[in-house]
Assembly symmetry: C2
Homo-oligomer: 194 residues x 2
């Protein structure tokens, strides 16, 4: 990605994280980035293209701070935990990412145009998590009776729910992380019906 | 509550569920309810009072459709399930309630004025659920090792997370309900560390 494009998306995220996506005006992003509106339209076509690109940008950025690399050889349960608790860190960028995601999710209730990108990125996260669970099953670290996709849906939904409370100051970072760890442990138990 | 006050709050919920809380203007609510702005200011003092009252109203309304009464003698696990899955119903009012809640939660990230009412109502929900778990423990239906409050935090956070996906069309009502049931089952297992 060009540096300019990245800078425009960083400015967009700052504006969304501060004031929400519904109030977002291209003028504000232009002012925040110190460029003309025309440049933004040139790069992202319209407001909706800008928001979609910002969400993808946030997603890529989140992969950087999850602390998991492709050739990581940590135990599978440890990897899963890191993939999930990475969302809760006392770090400005992490909090901003979480705020942008939460905001776009809430806005998608009202704005159907946001749903395709939300569906795609949510699915990517789910599949990533389910694949790690399946790796663990192949290696014998996770019971074969665990439904990898269902567990991934519940764990990622829990993270999203906790994230809303964390951002609103109802939960500390440590509390959010410990709830994720406890839920993960429960999801990886052998399924009685399995 | 007076009929007039209830009607004003219903109109407020419709406006929030349609367009979100950040775009909410007292004029719109007045137009939706067919009354003057002055009447709204008379009942709710200001915009923030209106939003707070609407959230409390939604909460009271939700208790009506959860299908749980104080003298209910259903098994505790069944009561818990009903308290949680009541949030997911193919019903306009339930969906609207959920949208209003989700919207206020998301807005609280940006608007600290919304946090006190959010904290109070979230706490009430948590305590209600934790008390039912404790009743089940007293009756011997739920293992004593279950941490009632921690389980309640996770289960309600999961419901909030699933709710966002459900409202955005990423999950069906049946899927959301079945994930809640599965998580509840896992939370009520004896805690290995307990």
């Amino acid at each position: 990605m060009s540096t300019r494009r990245a800078k425009l998306l960083e400015a967009t995220c700052r504006v969304i994280a501060l004031r929400g996506v519904r109030g977002l005006r291209v003028e504000e992003v232009a002012a925040e980035a110190g460029v003309s509106k025309t440049l933004i339209y040139y790069h992202f076509r319209d407001r909706s293209g800008l928001v979609t690109s910002a969400l993808e940008y946030v997603n890529d950025r989140a992969e950087g701070y999850a602390g998991v690399s492709d050739d990581d050889d940590a135990p599978v349960r440890e990897l899963l935990l890191r993939l999930l608790v990475g969302e809760f860190q006392d770090d400005r960028a992490v909090r901003e990412n979480s705020a942008v995601w939460g905001e776009v999710r809430a806005a998608a209730t009202f704005d159907e145009g946001l749903r395709p990108v939300l569906a795609t990125l949510t699915e990517r996260w789910l599949v990533e998590l389910a694949e790690v669970i399946e790796d663990g099953q192949d290696e014998g670290d996770i019971p074969a009776s665990v439904d990898s996709r269902a567990a991934a849906v519940r764990l990622t939904s829990l993270v999203e729910g906790l994230s809303g409370r964390w951002l609103a100051g109802l939960l500390t970072t440590a509390e959010a992380r410990s709830h994720v760890a406890a839920a993960l442990e429960r999801e990886l138990l052998p399924d009685a019906q399995g």
